[in-house]
């Protein structure tokens, strides 16, 4: 039995969106790997975690629960503090002054 049209539309658009975000994450991952300088890698990391957050949001829409949104919020918080600490390290050579 095939599911109704509405579910098919939403399901396939979510799949397409997840594919696009997956591609975006691989672009960011490639930038992390090739650099060439430390700031490029950190920029890649910043993009990577924002994309990961978006991926979790699409999974959250699919599942219909709040669980994934809290996970997305946690990724946002940790990614932000991580990249800020790394940028600070680039500036001064130490994280906490």
């Amino acid at each position: 039995m095939t599911p109704p049209l509405e579910i098919l539309i939403l399901g396939w658009s979510l799949t397409l969106a997840q594919l696009l975000i997956g591609l975006a994450m691989s672009c960011a991952a490639y930038r992390i790997l090739i650099g060439p300088r430390a700031q490029d890698r950190i920029l890649g990391l910043d993009t990577f975690y924002v994309n990961a957050m978006l991926l979790l949001l699409t999974i959250g829409i699919r599942s219909g629960t709040t669980l994934y949104f809290e996970a997305a919020l946690a990724i946002g918080l940790l990614g932000f503090s991580g990249t800020v600490a790394l940028a600070k390290f680039l500036m001064r050579g130490e994280v906490i002054e």
Binding site: P3, P4, L5, E6, I7, L8, I9, L10, G11, W12, S13, L14, T15, L16, A17, Q18, L20, I21, L23, A24, M25, C27, A28, Y30, R31, R37, Q39, D40, I42, L43, G44, D46, T47, V50, N51, M53, L54, L57, T58, G60, I61, R62, G64, T66, F69, E70, A72, L73, G76, L77, F80, T83, V84, A87, K88, L90, M91
Partner: protein
């Protein structure tokens, strides 16, 4: 692949479009991260995903969950606020750190003084 919450047809189309658009914009931003050829040009790329990319997907999910009436929309609002405030902070810090490093190394691509462009304009 095709499991998703059951919405009315208009909502399914609207949510699907918003989510795909948001994801496409995030992808364009990440492609920019690969294609642009200097670090300072690349810093502009992730803001696409962090503004309209995040915006599209969050509005999609707000529409979805307000039609389903399963929970309040506080998470989306919080995430949107958080992303709008944090992304500029990271990018600014990163740009300043990079400028500092380039100046220390004497890289000719960056202005050694903040006033370079003013002096050029005023002659």
């Amino acid at each position: 692949m095709s499991n998703a919450p059951l919405l009315p047809l208009w909502a399914a189309i609207l949510v699907g479009t918003l989510v795909v658009l948001g994801a496409a914009i995030a992808l364009i931003g990440s492609i920019g991260l690969l294609r642009l050829n200097s670090f300072y040009a690349r810093v502009h790329a992730p803001t696409l995903g962090a503004t309209l990319g995040v915006g599209g997907i969050l509005i999609g999910s707000m529409v979805c969950f307000s039609v389903l009436q399963s929970r309040p929309l506080i998470h989306e609002v919080l995430i949107a606020l958080f992303v709008t405030i944090t992304t500029p902070v990271t990018l600014m810090l990163l740009a300043r750190a990079s400028l500092h490093r380039d100046r220390v190394e004497g890289n000719p691509e960056v202005p050694q003084s903040d006033l370079a462009s003013l002096e050029r304009r005023d002659g």
